[in-house]
């Protein structure tokens, strides 16, 4: 069986700067993959290439067996890849419901049908009581949740989450973790860029570690936490598993 997402030797250069080099990994159906690495390691560049915002300099990205590298974002979205942004980009001139409707309209062209689907998505992420509020009035945590809801409304097979837990309080992180788990339980695979280790480590099936544009580790969270190269590059001693 071909994996849902198959990234091979993905390379992205900006002039003389190589942001990603020979990055190879796969993500299976319904899998949660954590993508970690120090600042500037090239995590967001990987995301931008996957979501169609960057055309890779070399390499291939196959989604459900089809090449998507170099397609524009709207075409990638239509094939079933949705994303959120590191810095939230909600539609501030719209209500919460309308924000989500823009996502739902991708698969449901009729506005009333899209509104019904958007309400469903808001119920799923627990934002339903905010539906009529202007999106700009939400808290940061709610705005991040709104971005996830909007992406879910496009009915994706793969969801790319860019630091949805950054800047949240401990209890908000717990809620976010719970939400990602429930998204996976719907059969949607997730690639999660995250700095909040206690958020991503418990739920990830696999961890991918980037350093200076290269993938230095790929494996289950336990193995990654004990990998000397990863500890040296990024994690620090406190994430070494007990007894190691």
């Amino acid at each position: 069986m071909t994996p849902l997402l198959q990234v091979e030797r993905l390379t992205k250069r900006f002039g003389g700067l190589t942001a990603n080099e020979d990055v190879t990994f796969t993500v299976g159906e319904g899998e949660i993959a954590g993508l970690i690495g120090p600042n500037g390691a090239g995590k967001t560049t990987v995301f931008n290439s996957l979501a169609g915002f960057f055309a890779p300099s070399a390499g291939s990205i196959r989604f459900r067996g089809q090449e998507i590298a170099g397609l524009p974002p709207e075409a990638v979205a239509a094939r079933g890849v949705a994303r959120t942004f590191q810095i939230v980009r909600i539609f501030k001139g719209m209500t919460v419901l309308e924000n989500v409707m823009v996502g739902a309209l991708l698969r449901h062209r009729a506005v009333p049908e899209a509104a019904a689907r958007a309400r469903e998505a808001l119920r799923f992420t627990g934002l339903e009581r905010r539906a009529a509020d202007p999106a700009g009035r939400l808290t940061v945590a709610e705005q991040k949740r709104l971005e996830v809801t909007r992406a879910l409304a496009t009915e994706p097979r793969l969801l790319l989450l860019d630091e949805v837990m950054a800047g949240l309080t401990a209890s908000e992180v717990q809620e976010a973790v719970e939400m990602v788990r429930r998204i996976r339980d719907r059969g949607i695979a997730c690639v999660v860029v995250e700095h909040v280790m206690e958020g991503i480590m418990p739920i990830a099936d696999r961890m991918l570690v980037l350093e200076r544009g290269r993938l230095i580790a790929d494996g289950p969270p336990q193995a990654i936490a004990n990998d000397p190269a990863v500890i040296a590059a990024y994690l620090g001693e406190e994430y070494r598993a007990p007894g190691a």
Partner: protein
């Protein structure tokens, strides 16, 4: 204000507009009212692209002029009814809008606005030098027999009033339908966060082109009405940057991205224009421009949401009524 009250207010406004020229018979007042309706129609047409999609065009006179020239030339050379000419002008303007939109939409924000100024300046220069289009002298439309079929009314300006009103209602209806459609949601999304819109499957080029095509077609219809009312067109009056700016100003003053904002903006601007003309006469030429400039500055600083934004901010009920209309 409930939704029903809103509908009632709308019908009352329409009724008032319909009986206004019967109650006010002074030709000067009637003429001012016609100018208001025409300015409002152009502002509403501009608003589809500039307001909802957030693509500020300062070249809409190019589409207005296309409408005026296409219908006038077809009527003078081929004897085509100006009513059909109006449709032809709308189609030509739409096609023209797509052709210039394609490259111009690669530019963002101020750069897009500057490119549209260049477009209207180029079109004006071309028509100025093109003898078969009347050149800089312009075109005098033949004085056809007065009547509805010929779209010419010599005895009274009243029919123009009702045609302008009908065209405004049509333009508002198109705007209303667009705002409630998939395209309307996509245009607002593109205005707020283009990258986020793309990540949700929205093709920026496709929907911006839809918006400019529709906006241009409606502006062109306004151009035909102008030509038939004045029976004289030249590049200076129909293809000028100042006309383009006025179209955008009507919408910005009233409230961009709102249905009735441009109507209010047009009423205020036309009143200023005509008022300063009456007050200062020939010596005051350009006074209206000074007032425009002042208004732009004041609104940009204190009330970017325009007059409509001020109204909904002051009477939250009006905003609640708007929210109820959402699905």
């Amino acid at each position: 204000m409930s939704r029903r009250a809103g509908t009632a207010a709308l019908l009352a406004a329409l009724l008032l507009a319909a009986v206004f020229p019967l109650a006010v018979s002074r030709p000067a007042w009637q003429n001012t009212a016609i100018l208001m309706l025409m300015a409002a129609q152009l502002g509403v047409a501009w608003n589809i692209l500039g307001g909802y999609a957030g693509q500020v065009s300062l070249g809409h006179a190019a589409f207005f002029g296309t409408g005026a020239y296409v219908s006038s030339l077809l009527s003078m050379r081929l004897g085509l009814s100006p009513w059909l000419g109006m449709l032809a002008g709308a189609l030509v303007a739409s096609a023209f809008a797509v052709v210039i939109g394609w490259p111009c939409f690669r530019l963002k924000g101020h750069y897009f606005a500057m490119a549209t100024i260049a477009v209207v300046e180029i079109v004006q220069a071309v028509v100025n030098g093109w003898e078969r289009l009347g050149g800089a002298v312009g075109l005098y439309l033949p004085l056809a027999e007065s009547g509805f079929a010929g779209f010419v009314f010599n005895r009274s300006k009243l029919p123009y009033y009702y045609i302008a009103l009908a065209l405004l209602v049509l333009t508002l209806a198109v705007n209303w339908l667009v705002a409630r459609s998939r395209t309307g949601y996509y245009l607002r999304a593109i205005k707020d966060e283009p990258d986020a819109a793309r990540s949700l499957g929205v093709s920026l080029t496709r929907y911006k082109l839809q918006a400019i095509a529709l906006s241009a077609a409606l502006a062109a219809m306004g151009g035909t009405l102008y030509a038939q009312k004045e029976l004289f067109i030249d590049p200076g009056s129909t293809l000028s940057t100042s006309l383009s700016i006025k179209m955008s100003l009507v919408a910005i003053l009233g409230g961009v991205g709102t249905l009735f904002g441009p109507v209010i903006g047009a009423a205020v601007l036309t009143a200023i224009e005509e008022g300063s003309r009456v007050l200062f006469g020939g010596t005051g030429r350009g006074t209206d421009l000074v007032v425009y400039g002042l208004l732009i500055v004041l609104f940009a600083v204190y009330q970017p949401a325009g007059i409509m934004g001020w109204i909904t901010g002051r009477w939250p009920g009006a905003r609640a009524a708007r929210r109820e209309e959402e699905p």
